[in-house]
């Protein structure tokens, strides 16, 4: 069996026409690159905007509403960017929503808030981030050094972190009283709320980290072929820990944003966010098996879902219908991607199969 597999996978290929012409047609080139992969998402988003504009007119198409869409996208967006890294490396993090909840609870504890009042509001931020990092560190160590499957390890964290948050908060809502914190979180820069700026900055930083740094290269290499990465001398285990810490850190940042938006910490914050994040990442075009990740795609994925919610809300449609639409979008997006993925490389690989397909 193996003999035949190895043989079949041994294509001796002539140069495919069109691929080598990297300078021939810049537009074509752009469409074939990552931008092209995102093009479908841009079109989908544009369609949603058209639907919104047609059904709700000016109520939809105004600056305030655009801000609403982005504000709605911002928290889940930050989480999704963290998750993008983990998934690009071939992993998964189911715990981000719970960890978000835990960070809001611990950062809004009376003791923390009192200490923050005496020193600075930044203390609350630091506490939230630290909680996220520690949760991610535990995930990473259990996965990389304990050799526990990521799905199971982060599922345990999902359940455990939520439980811990309930225990600490006694299931009560902890109001944020620190005025400085609230003032900063409600601030606007150039007429745009801070929450949106945080999302934008995290997205840009994430894009840079994934595409322009050795950290990103390691991430993609591990997701593309873990064994080859290991045998090339990359410290795979250590990097896996960093990745889950990064996802935890993103959950911590999202926790801070959540505290600012809702002015309260509670164990129910971030419920099911992990699923929204994974949906956005996958719809965005990041491969669930790893090896290819796109921050741009994730951002578009998040925006598609938040725009969808906005359009539905504007039209007073049932949230159940909205959930149904979300499900459809996920399936259709992934089906389309698989078609593209199958068509792209396979066409080059096995010319003989084209007729059959």
């Amino acid at each position: 069996m193996s003999e035949q597999n190895t043989k079949v996978a041994e294509p001796v290929i002539e140069a495919p026409a069109g691929h080598t012409t990297s300078k021939a047609n810049p537009l074509q080139n752009l469409l074939k690159g990552p931008a092209g992969r995102s093009l479908g998402l841009v079109i989908a988003l544009a369609l949603l905007f058209v639907v919104g504009a047609v059904t709700s007119g000016d109520r939809f198409l105004n600056f305030e509403n655009m801000l609403t869409i982005f504000r709605y996208a911002s928290i889940i967006g930050v989480i999704s960017i963290g998750v993008t890294f983990v998934i690009t490396a071939g992993g998964i993090d189911l715990s981000v929503g719970s960890v978000l909840g835990l960070t809001t609870v611990i950062a809004s504890l009376t003791s923390v808030q009192m200490a923050a009042t005496q020193s600075s509001w930044i203390l609350m931020v630091l506490v939230a981030l630290a909680v996220g990092v520690v949760a991610g560190l535990i995930n990473g160590v259990v996965i990389a050094y304990g050799n526990v499957v990521a799905f199971i390890a982060t599922l345990a964290m999902l359940v455990g972190a939520r439980g811990l948050a309930e225990l600490i908060s006694g299931r009560s809502t902890q109001i944020v009283t620190n005025r400085d914190f609230l003032r900063v979180m409600r601030a606007e820069v150039l007429g745009v709320p801070l929450l949106i700026w945080i999302f934008v900055i995290v997205a840009i930083a994430g894009w840079f980290l994934l595409n322009r740094t050795t950290f990103g290269r390691r991430t993609i290499a591990i997701g593309g072929n873990l064994e080859a990465a290991r045998l090339a001398g990359i410290k795979v285990k250590r990097h896996l820990v960093y990745l889950y810490v990064l996802a935890g850190l993103a959950a911590g940042i999202a926790g801070v944003m959540m505290l600012g938006r809702t002015t309260a910490g509670t164990s129910t914050h971030g419920l099911l966010y992990e699923l929204d994040a994974i949906a956005a990442v996958v719809v965005g075009g990041t491969l669930l098996i790893g090896g290819r990740g796109t921050i741009m795609g994730t951002v578009l994925g998040v925006l598609i879902f938040s725009t969808l919610t906005n359009v539905f809300t504007q039209n007073n449609l049932d949230t159940s219908v909205q959930a149904l639409a979300k499900g459809l979008i996920i399936v259709v997006a992934v089906l389309l991607q698989q078609r593209f993925a199958a068509r792209g490389p396979r066409k080059r690989e096995k010319p003989g199969l084209r007729k059959a397909a």
């Binding site: 043989k7 041994e10 080598t20 593309g224 001398g233």
Partner: protein, 506 residues
């Protein structure tokens, strides 16, 4: 087992061919199986054994050629067609369902039932008879198969074959999952079967085994029959090996350059040991020297290489590069000290297939080109382009995904990776596997050139001829033991095989 006036063959295969997208797996295979004989089919990995089995069991359809069953031409459009005729196949990865009982597994797919209601007692009774026929009456039909050993699962699989009134059983490397005690039991069962007139096609590449169990042998090489129905008793092992590996294409090995006497020792392996795999191994490799590991499949050559590299953690002993002792079980330590590995499985262990050539070339060095974590892709591309030119890698486009390259060019990517790194030690595991003959000569020349530039190289290959032609010095390895260390020019293929056979006979 059969007389000189040959009985009519049960199964006859003539000129079978089968191609898959771009690869011709079978190029003309002949086979005659007589009733009640154990017919061994031998061949190296990739020879086409598995494709042959699948064609005979109705999984694949042949492109051309003829299959005759008791003299009548037949087609096997699907697996059940083969089963209905009486051809059962025991695959290497046993196709039993762990959660079901022994009897349920035996009748899987042809349950004893009336209107969907199972006759449990009846099934158990028949199962018991079948197991008894196989000399395993002690195996209870109601036992859950998941609790059985691999050997007993095979028995269940064979009982299933018997339950269908089978006349021919194809066994795909049945001994691969068994220990030696279990293997002799398997042989006993196989003889029970043949005594009842059932023919067995026994696939294996273990020579000793075939000697014990087989009546006749057919050999396949590169999808073609090289021998047909040889008598086991009067075919020497060396002849079988020649039939399996014999190369009809002349290899062009580059000329050896004598390693200077004062060349420094670069790699020193001292009493390296990995329990369960290989015993204490010691040797040194000097700058400019090519050391070859010669031995058959299963001799643990690759394991030794991977342990030197730290991909496996040594039980004891040490490896040092230019006097620096490596941390056992740490690839990073080996890479930092200056060892590069081109692994056996190029695709699954060496390359990130969807990434461009240049990123594959710089996979172990990209941090060197980066500044403060910021990647410098144009510098990486430049370094890759240099190697592409030096190694004549085709296509010469650093942005082409590695997947689209031929085996030889993918191998060059791995060489390029370590050339960029500048490692003084290079470990090459099967550097020409899946590489066509023309490209081989090119790779040999490259390896020799690297040695001439002062790199210490170890080459592992299952092709003894390749090791002997390429290396300066050779370690002959069998079953995790170094049998001898000698100059490559002082030994030939027969010498190596003699040593290996003496080793395995002892």
């Amino acid at each position: 087992m059969f007389e000189e006036d040959q009985p009519r063959p049960l199964l006859e295969v003539r000129g079978l061919t089968k191609g898959f997208a771009g690869v011709q797996a079978l190029k003309g295979v002949d086979l005659q199986v007589l009733p009640g004989e154990v017919h061994c089919v031998m061949g190296q990995n990739g020879a086409g054994k598995s494709t042959l089995i699948k064609t005979l069991s109705g999984v694949h359809q042949p492109d051309s050629g003829e299959i005759r069953w008791e003299g009548k031409p037949i087609t096997l459009p699907r697996p059940t067609a083969a089963l209905d005729l009486g051809i059962a196949t025991m695959y290497q990865e046993l196709d039993v369902v762990d959660g079901l009982s022994v009897a349920e597994n035996i009748f899987l797919g042809h349950e004893r039932a009336t209107g969907g209601v199972l006759h449990v007692k009846k099934a158990n009774a028949i199962a018991r008879t079948l197991l008894k026929r196989l000399g395993h009456g002690g195996l209870s039909p109601s036992t859950e198969v998941g609790t059985l050993s691999a050997a007993n699962k095979q028995i269940v699989s064979m009982a299933r074959a018997l339950s269908r009134d089978t006349r021919l059983i194809i066994m795909d490397e049945p001994s691969a999952i068994l220990d030696s005690g279990e293997v002799s039991n398997l042989f006993r069962v196989v003889r029970e079967l043949t005594a009842q007139g059932i023919a067995v096609v026994y696939i294996s590449h273990r020579l000793e085994e075939i000697r014990q169990i087989g009546d006749r042998i057919s050999v396949i090489k590169d999808g073609r029959s090289t021998a047909n129905g040889l008598n086991v008793t009067d075919t020497p092992k060396s002849e079988l090996i020649r039939l399996m590996t014999g190369r009809d294409v002349e290899n062009v090995f580059p000329e050896r350059k004598p390693v200077p006497v004062d060349a420094p020792v670069v790699l020193e392996v001292d009493n390296l040991e990995l329990f369960g795999h290989f015993d204490k191994v010691s040797f040194t490799v000097r700058a400019g020297e090519i050391l070859g590991f010669a031995g058959l499949v299963g001799s643990k050559r690759s394991e030794i290489l991977e342990t030197i590299y730290g991909a496996r953690k040594a039980s004891s002993g040490k490896v040092s590069v230019q006097g620096k002792v490596l941390r056992p079980g740490s690839v990073t330590s080996a890479v930092n000290a200056g060892i590069g590995l081109s692994p056996e499985e190029r695709k699954s262990q060496g390359l990130i297939l969807d990434e461009p050539i240049f990123k594959n070339v710089t996979l172990s060095t990209f941090e060197r080109f980066a500044r403060g974590g910021y990647l410098n892709e144009s510098a990486e591309r430049g370094a890759a382009r240099e190697q592409i030119t030096a190694l004549e890698l085709r296509p010469a486009d650093p942005d082409r995904p590695a997947r689209t390259l031929s085996g030889g060019n993918q191998q060059k990517i791995l060489l390029a990776r370590w050339l960029v790194h500048g490692t003084p030690v290079l470990l090459l595991d099967e550097p020409t596997r899946g590489v066509d003959v023309g490209a081989r000569a090119e790779i040999y020349a490259l390896i020799r050139k690297l040695a001439a530039a002062g790199t210490a190289i170890i080459v592992v290959s299952s092709e003894i001829e390749e090791v002997l032609g390429l290396a300066d010095n050779v370690l002959v390895i069998d079953d995790g033991k170094v049998l001898t260390q000698t100059k490559a020019s002082d030994i030939d293929e027969h010498g190596v095989l003699d040593l290996v056979m003496k080793g395995s006979a002892a």
